[in-house]
Amino acid sequence: MIRRVLTFAALLMAFSATHAGVLPDDRADVLYHLYDGGGVQIDGPSVLVRKKAGKSLSFVGNYYVDMISSASIDVVTTASPYTEERKQWSLGMDYLRGNTTMRVNYTTSEESDFDAETVSFSVSQDMFGDLTTVTLSYALGDDLVRRSDDPTFKRPLDRQIYGVGFTQILTKKLISSLNIETITEEGYLNNPYRSVRYFDAGSASGYSFEPELYPNTRTSNAVGLRLRYFLPYRAALEGEYRFFTDTWDIEGHTGSLSYIHPWKDFTFTGKFRYHDQTGAHFYRDLFPGPQATNFRGRDKELSALTSYTFKLQAAYEFLNDDGNDTWGFIKRAKVTASLNILSVDYHEFSDLTAQEVIGSEPLYQLDANIFQIYFSFFY
């Protein structure tokens, strides 16, 4: 699941919203991220550099590392704690011609038991006096799933993403964006190490484990709407809603509200995010017996769940070209720190570490802190 999600991330990165007709600003970002929760620690750097070449080309490169140390609830109950590292490189190019921006992106990532390659392409068009930007995007992902304990194990996974996006200026103070995305996958979708739990009267605990088995295909559709409003004083309010549905019967609703408040050289942001989803049709916390159904899964992310996130962020611009001080070619620079406090309530995933009698285990709850600090330089 880690690898699968990372690959999605790589695919989706290519679709980051930009305004056609104007190339993105030249910038460099150096970020350190730390995730700590549920027995898992993940940290590492991410470095992004973007630079124009002439008036119609812009290049972007990103290097990203995850250093994972995992003793999560899944690992503790069915496997051994582990550490691993993943590195991802990506290179992209934007080409501006009139009101049209074309973008290509290539991403590759390496892990001890997973390889991923992605190529993506998008076209953005400004229209109606630059009030509207329409973006069409497509990405093709080619993954290879392996097992670290079995060198002969190799399974392919193919992925395609179709996207349509609209950015619309509605009034002098209100901007909106609508994004529609269809993702199709075909291949080895389950985690080669994960197990499902089934009732076993012959076992001392009352249950045993067997490997999970997912369908070989998955298609999902998502529609997201964002609205950002400039308040009567200098501050902004943003609302966001996303509806998600897929062929595994997961249906999700995600909403968030953000408040952005600048003060002198600082910008403060507060955000609350809510997510609620139903579970996959083949998900069970406890199956009635071995091989009870055609497909079987117990990944907690496929369970019905509700998550809540509070975010606090502060950014300080320590260099800007309004004053006399600049650092050579660097015109502007800022440092940003943010903390997201995440809480997930799983509605169908029991905490087996509680050692309770089968059927009366408490439901698992995840609490995690996600910290980021990054420097951004504009030139």
Partner: protein, 80 residues
């Protein structure tokens, strides 16, 4: 697969129609360029921090069953 393709085509057709119309339309922008000072303020940028946004969206994708539809996404930690 056919359903997906037909759904995608249905989605894209109106878009091409809009794109075609835009070439010869005379729709007057109701927010003039000189009226966009507030929209140009950095606090109104829909994605002013692409690296951070990509990272945090990925964290949510790793924790939840839903994905996509958020415009900007990608990068970040995987954490099961």
């Amino acid at each position: 697969m056919n359903k997906v393709i037909s759904r995608t085509v249905r989605l894209l057709l109106p878009l091409f129609a809009i794109a075609a119309l835009s070439g010869c339309s005379s729709i007057e922008p109701w927010v003039k360029p000189y009226e966009r000072d507030k929209l140009a303020d950095p606090i109104m940028a829909l994605d002013g921090d692409p690296v951070s946004t990509a990272y945090i969206q990925h964290v949510f994708e790793a924790r939840e069953g839903a994905r996509g539809g958020e415009g900007a996404a990608g990068g970040g930690c995987g954490c099961n």
